[in-house]
Symmetry: C2
Subunit: 328 residues, 2 copies
Amino acid sequence: MLKMAKKLDYRPNLAARYLSSKRTLHISINTLQGKTSFWDEVRAGIQEESRFLDLENVELEFRTYPHLGESEDAAFESAIKAGVDGILAFPSSPQNLKKFMRQTAAREIPLVFVATDAPGVAKLTVVSIDTKASGFLAADLMGRLLGKGRVAITMFDKKITEHAEKGEAFARTLKSYYPEMCVEDPIEDHDIESEAYEKTSRLIAAHPDLAGIYVTTEVSIPVIKAARDLGVLDRLVIVTTDLFPALAKEIKEGAVTATIYQRPRTQGRMAFRALYEYLVDGSFPRRRITLAPHLVMRGNADSFLQQDTSDLNEGEGEVAEFSGVAEP
Amino acid sequence: MLKMAKKLDYRPNLAARYLSSKRTLHISINTLQGKTSFWDEVRAGIQEESRFLDLENVELEFRTYPHLGESEDAAFESAIKAGVDGILAFPSSPQNLKKFMRQTAAREIPLVFVATDAPGVAKLTVVSIDTKASGFLAADLMGRLLGKGRVAITMFDKKITEHAEKGEAFARTLKSYYPEMCVEDPIEDHDIESEAYEKTSRLIAAHPDLAGIYVTTEVSIPVIKAARDLGVLDRLVIVTTDLFPALAKEIKEGAVTATIYQRPRTQGRMAFRALYEYLVDGSFPRRRITLAPHLVMRGNADSFLQQDTSDLNEGEGEVAEFSGVAEP
DNA sequence: ATGAAAGCGCTAACAT
DNA sequence: ATGTTAGCGCTTTCAT
């Protein structure tokens, strides 16, 4: 009886646990090598939060692979073999991942996904951008600026949940608020530059009245180039995704109206936080952690590009001798 | 010699420190009672982060005052008398605060400001929204939608740094990107509804060609009402600040084009984090912690209003005793 | 003043 | 298997 009661509201003292336990948590970070800076930022966010939260008992193991596909599998296998305590990953090919599901499940290795979900795979949580808000923002912006006309959307592949969701929110918003606008079937570029260029060119040729394009993938530059080469850039409203130097240039020059920033650093931070909490506390995060996108236009493009050091500065390693709070 | 070397790369083990120390940190949260939900959200963010970070050695003391002015001073005095280890505050009247500067400085009580800076007051850091990005966003949105015309801006008072900065960014953006637009002298509403209504009405009467209004304060409803009463609401582009139910309604109905959400919860979280880290680690935060504003339009208004539980889930245990200070 | 010793609440290695 | 004990790195108290 008493034991029961005691057990119910018993909370282990984490400080004591850290102190006594020699064990260090090994967390594997399986992500894609940065094509643009997106993944570098995600990793930076993870490191940041790790340093902030950690009471020096966690070790990050970065398994960064250059391409989707087998090197991704290799990273997974290697992590499992190494006996890591948790995995934080970018799931690119859900089918392959299922092979590992049993293993992670059997060994009770918690899994957190960043940026994209892998439907059907058991995981602790997924951290991603709010796709509805993204699609909506792009649509309302275009709608307000154009009022009517034909617009297009590009995505990696209709099968990527996140992209499909953005597309759906985009189309739905346009339909309900701007009935005089219509959306073409999505272009699928598979993150391949030439494919994006080709398909965009063809689309523009087929629809000389095209008024806007919403690019949900990272390959926005080829889309812009196609429009420019065909001489229609000036009359297109282009809304893109993410932010990197080449794109910032186009934004500042007015070629791109706005971009929807997916806050990679914060995604990394949140993902690590969720995994760490689970490992340390046993507490479950929400099933999905969704971030509000930031709208970037020419005025604030630069402030987003420069390292958003975000929260804390370096721990100087000094004893807390409260040395007066001076303002320099 | 050896001592020196040792001291230099010595890093105290925080876990051990928490464990052994009986001391609990007392942090006073001096904020304004919520007129809208802004301050409630800030406090929620503080609580959230506190529960998340805390290894049960911190105690929050909320000193919430109904009005600016003397009750604010009282809260400050009470906190200092109580011997708190740190204060997290909304500085409404910088002049008064200076009286306490000496005291906090003398007793080495670190001070963190939220939402607004108090220039000239020594503090650990200030957490606030990115005013430039806010003003810019409002301006570029209006510029893109209107192209030309006369627009106005309302603020609490020209003397509030944050408001002045927003106004400046707004005007500067308009001037450089949309030379055919012009900005009226700012309306100062001092957060008083009747004042906002009066002055807006007068402005509209004086400038029948007014095309847009950027409201940087929380009193956007009276501005909308004035425009509606004078029958010009339909042709005005209105961009507001913050978000609360009554405003969300106006956004969804199209009266307000967009609002710039200042992320009160995140402001609270960041502020607490900075103060806590300093208290525990001795590490100094950046001088200013600036958050990117969120653009809210009719499609995503609801998702912002519903409690953004943000990061973590529940921490079940309860802290022992709260001294005579009320919880929010 | 300065230094030695006793815990803080756990885990891990030991003994039964 | 179960119970006991040493000790993690600090702070605090107690003795010198």
